[in-house]
């Protein structure tokens, strides 16, 4: 059902006197609804018109009815203000635009803050949801998953929470219905969780306790998105059986739109804990709870330290030193780093707004001084100081209101840009491996609008108050024939404002200079491997056909890989094709290792990233060995065990000996893994996005990665979710078709998800530097522009007010040059103070930006110097024009104006 616009209703409730309020609102709602049947938009507009007319209608019972209007003074002031602003259109436009940009920037930054960090989960009392982890603080490990045994023990013992819920991530290969097989990401979740979240399925039922028992029939809940994309929003899906990971599973319900707890899940399976097979101390769960009644997090902490203490005594082998870590759910998932980045963004935006305020205050002050005669006449006719202040404040409110409107436009542009670039996969690097959360909603809605309006109102007060007071207090206005008198004070205020502006802009310019260098570095970053014409995709080998995590199923998967590579090599569009566990920028699995004969004892723990690859991997990525050779056809399943090491590995562990020919063994000391001979050294490739791998890494042939020890998971995982990388002939089209078709020919039941070019893949992972970077560049460009306008305006004004004085000096023989120098000297002093203070403030600001800076150190002096020079140049340019004008003042003309 359509409802009248809430804000308009609020306005009416505030404005309409009590004796008619209910009736009037009832009448309006009735008419609104009949209009809404035809067009809801027109009805809303109509309702707004009614609300606004009520603002000005002399409603019964309101003050001022007899005089024929609400607060006529305010209306008159508003009308007067609009007239006054129209009289100086350029100046007013400049002020409105300035405010609009400032308010827009704040609106954008705040909507990001609100939508991602502050709003929280879209559930009842979301801040009472708490996430649990375990910590072994003695070992310095403070982010451990909760074991199923601890989860149950905690649930039974605790009283601070209504209950605890648990989940663990899961993937589902869905097949046997109309759509092609595909893999989805979701969780196995306890039945209690839905009640804790206060969420019911939109269709069908949730999980019951029976669904959790290990022998029960398989059931699944779908997300709204999955329901729409795969089941065409068919309400009849409830009760249907689909094939999940090879098991027939009944769809029992569909969750509401925008529900994706905990991250952005597409389905929920019941959490089944079979304690007959789970050992104490093993297994991993994510646990959360809802604080009960009036319990606080602090007291819950105390309770949990008692509970974990008791468990440590009862089960010292598994629980000694283990404590519980409790944290607000949304804080846990958003993470400090992201939140801090966004807070700094808001701080930067507020700086811009402050600069805007200073600029507008200057404009108002200057205009107020110009209007001194008008104001003086009004005061002599009986206007009080209060009235004059009110008049001037009204003018700045009108400016701010117009600026607010433009600000909303600017903010909506900013928000849509953020939503376009920020929601791409991999841009943000959040805790728990996510890059976006289901409850994020960056938009210009209620609270954000309020913030924008508050920013506009704040601007009005900040920009309007000081000038109004100062102008109104100048009682000698009528004597203002000599401008200098009235301005002695005004000049000081405007100069101070300019210094403040310069300081704030200095800080932003420093930040922006760092960001600019970072963005430059990102753009010019050489990946060190081929990214053009290389496409990658991950394929999921279904457990039913290719087995689970056991190494026994290795040969089936190897056969798939080898047939697939033959298939791809036969395609004329393919230059080279490879299968690997990780492409560059994936963080590889790490393993213990030993080096034959280096004398390091077994008690020293060392780990190395291990990537398993087929021989053609280095061809596909265009990487040549710096020493020795890469893998060849002879390094297959039956060949001698071999490995490649990267340069960092060679430097750290094989220095002083020939890397090629050394022997390395991977896996735990007692594993049966063979010694592998190093056959070559390859350059360091990226591990984390944008960062050269400064960590040791080794490569093993995929065919040799099965391992005799099932704990050596690298090969198993590498083959369970192999990534296919293909280099295509230049100019190839339909690259994803080539890959899909090849996989389909080998096995029609294997899903191929997203096919991406390597350059997109890398670009996306560099995205966060770009997203945040562009914001700061925007801020700083804006600030520089504003400060140039501000400096120019103030100095021009100073010259104008000193016209008489300068004229006299010139008449007494001062040269053009000396006048110009004097004006510039004053400007340079302001610039000097402002820039010095600004750079100091910038040092603090930049410290907070490290997470969005790529390849720049925050103590890079050259960047500080560059920023100061830039600001100085802009400031000097803005001062030079008025100084030149002053120098050209004709003495006769000047004295005549007196």
């Amino acid at each position: 059902m359509v409802r009248p616009p809430p804000l308009a209703v609020r306005l009416l409730e505030w404005r309409v006197p009590e004796q008619v309020r209910t009736y009037l609102l009832g009448d309006l709602e009735e008419t609104f609804r009949s209009k809404a049947n035809e067009s809801p938009i027109r009805a809303s507009l109509w309702y707004w018109r009614q609300a606004l007319s009520a603002l000005f209608a002399p409603l019964p019972g309101t003050v001022g009815v007899e005089r024929g209007g609400p607060n006529p003074g305010l209306l008159r002031d508003t009308r007067h203000a609009i007239r006054a602003l129209k009289r100086h259109p350029t100046q007013s436009l400049a002020a409105v635009l300035t405010l609009g940009l400032g308010v827009g920037v704040v609106g954008t930054a705040f909507s990001i803050l609100w939508g991602t960090v502050l709003a929280g989960l879209p559930f009842e009392d979301p801040d009472r949801l708490v996430h649990f982890e375990r910590a072994a603080l003695e070992d310095g490990r403070n982010s451990l998953a909760v074991t199923p045994h601890d989860y149950v023990a905690w649930s039974d013992a605790q009283r601070s929470f209504e209950a605890l819920g648990a989940y663990v991530e899961a993937t589902a290969l869905m097949s046997n219905d109309q759509a092609p097989p595909d893999r989805y990401v979701g969780v196995r979740m306890s039945a209690s969780s839905f009640e804790l979240l206060r969420v019911q399925p939109a269709l069908g039922r949730g999980f019951s306790q029976e669904d959790e028992s290990p022998g029960a029939p398989q059931v699944i809940l779908l997300s709204d998105r999955l329901w729409r994309s795969r089941f065409a929003a068919d309400a009849g899906v409830v009760g249907r059986t689909v094939d999940i990971n090879g098991l027939p599973t009944t769809v029992v319900g569909v969750m509401p739109e925008r529900f994706g707890f905990p991250i952005a899940e597409e389905f929920w399976l019941p959490l089944r804990l079979d304690f007959s097979t789970i050992e104490r101390g093993s297994g991993r769960l994510d646990v959360f709870g809802r604080l009960a009644g009036d319990q606080e997090l602090a007291s819950a902490h105390d309770e949990f330290s008692r509970i974990t203490g008791a468990l440590a005594e009862a089960y010292p082998e598994t629980n000694r030193g283990i404590t519980a870590q409790l944290r607000s759910f949304s804080d846990e998932y958003v993470g400090d780093e992201f939140a801090n980045t966004v807070y700094r963004l808001v701080a930067g935006a507020l700086l811009v707004l402050l600069i805007c305020c200073a600029n507008v205050a200057n404009l108002l002050l200057i205009r107020g001084v110009r209007r001194r005669r008008e104001l003086a006449v009004r005061m002599s006719l009986g206007a009080t100081h209060g009235l004059i202040v009110r008049q001037l404040l009204t003018e700045s409110f009108v400016l701010a209101a117009l600026g607010g409107l433009i600000g909303i436009g600017v903010a909506s542009l900013g928000v849509s840009w953020f939503n376009r670039v920020g929601t791409q996969a991999g841009v943000f690097d959040l805790p728990h491996g996510s890059d976006s959360l289901f409850w994020w909603d960056v938009s210009l809605d209620g609270p954000v609008m309020l913030a924008v309006l508050a920013a506009a109102a704040l601007t009005a007060v900040l920009a309007g108050a000081a000038p109004s007071m100062r102008i109104a207090r100048s009682t000698h206005l009528l004597r203002g024939g000599r401008a200098g008198n009235a301005l002695a004070g005004g000049g000081r205020v405007t100069s101070a404002l300019v210094v403040v502006q310069l300081t704030l802009t200095g800080a932003l310019t420093v930040a922006a200079a760092f960001v600019a260098k970072s963005v430059w570095n990102v753009a010019g970053a050489d990946a060190g491997f081929a990214t053009e014409a290389v496409v990658v995709t991950r394929v999921d080998l279904p457990v039913g056909r290719y087995g689970g995590n056991g190494s026994g199923d290795h040969s089936a998967r190897l056969r798939f890989v080898s047939v697939l590579l033959d298939e791809l090599d036969a395609d004329p569009a393919v230059v080279a094709a490879a299968v690997t566990s990780d492409v560059p920028t994936d963080l590889p699995i790490t393993q213990d290792f030993r080096i034959d004969g280096d004398g390091v004892g077994p008690d020293v723990e060392r780990e190395v990233g291990v990537v398993s690859v087929t021989a053609s991997y280095f061809d596909v990525f265009g990487v040549d060995p710096t020493d020795g050779r890469v893998f060849g056809p002879g390094d297959g399943e039956g060949g001698a065990p071999v490995t490649l090491v990267n340069e960092t590995f060679a430097r750290l562990y094989l220095s002083g000996r020939s890397a090629v020919g050394s022997r390395v063994r991977l896996g735990p000391i007692d594993s049966g893994e063979p010694w592998r001979t190093v056959v070559g050294v390859v350059p360091d490739l990226w591990a984390r996005p944008g960062e050269p791998l400064r960590e040791a890494g080794v490569y093993v042939p995929l065919e040799q990665s099965a391992g005799t020890d099932p704990t050596l998971t690298l090969g198993v995982l590498g083959l369970r979710y192999p990534t296919v990388a293909v280099q295509l002939c230049p100019g190839s089209v339909n690259v994803s078709d080539v890959l899909r078709a090849a996989v389909y020919r080998v096995d029609g039941a294997v899903p191929v998800r997203r096919v991406q070019t390597m350059s997109d893949f890398v670009g996306q992972r560099m995205g966060r530097y770009q997203v945040w970077g562009r914001f700061y560049l925007c801020f700083s460009a804006l600030a520089l522009l504003l400060v140039a306008v501000g400096v120019y305006g103030v100095l021009s004004f100073g010259v104008l007010t000193r016209t008489g004085e300068i004229g006299v000096r010139r008449a007494l023989g001062a040269s053009q040059g000396s006048v110009q120098r004097e004006i510039l000297r004053g400007a340079v002093r302001q610039l000097g103070i402002g820039i010095a203070a600004g750079v100091a403030l910038g040092v603090v600001l930049v410290r907070g930006l490290t997470s969005v800076l790529y390849g720049v150190e925050t103590n890079d002096i050259s960047v500080f110097v560059g920023a100061a020079l830039l600001l100085g140049t802009v400031g000097l340019l803005a001062s030079w024009l008025p100084a030149r004008r002053a120098a050209r003042i004709d003495p006769l003309e000047a004295i005549r104006t007196e």
């Binding site: 008619v20 009736y23 009448d27 309006l28 008419t31 009614q50 009520a54 409603l59």
Partner: protein
């Protein structure tokens, strides 16, 4: 007729619309819209009705609502005897003034 009791144009329209309709704000607004095609604002209708009530030309009572009013009661205005007399007087006055004029549209219809 004293000046204080004189009906303004909008007052007369509202008073007539109240007499022709169910007599509450939304109905009066609808009636005015239907007969004059003027989409006047409901708050201004209220302002006028309150003034008419003060003059004793309408009286109001509260009625429990049906329909889509968000559960709010309605204030129903009925034209008083004085109101009826006022409307009649206004009509008579105009009729007398119109009498015998060639461009009287009503006369042309006859």
């Amino acid at each position: 007729m004293t000046k204080g009791a004189h009906l303004g144009e909008f007052e007369e329209i509202v008073l007539l619309a109240a007499a022709r309709s169910d007599g509450y704000g939304s109905a009066i607004h609808g009636e005015i819209l239907a007969t004059t095609t003027r989409d006047v604002s409901i708050p201004s209708v209220y302002v006028t009705l309150t003034r008419l009530e003060k003059k004793g030309l309408v009286e109001s009572s509260v009625a429990i609502s049906g329909g889509d009013r968000g559960g709010r009661p309605m204030k129903v205005f009925t034209v008083t005897e004085a109101g009826v007399r006022q409307l009649q007087a206004s009509r008579m006055l105009k009729a007398r003034l119109w009498e015998g004029l060639e461009f009287d549209p009503l006369a042309a219809e006859e």
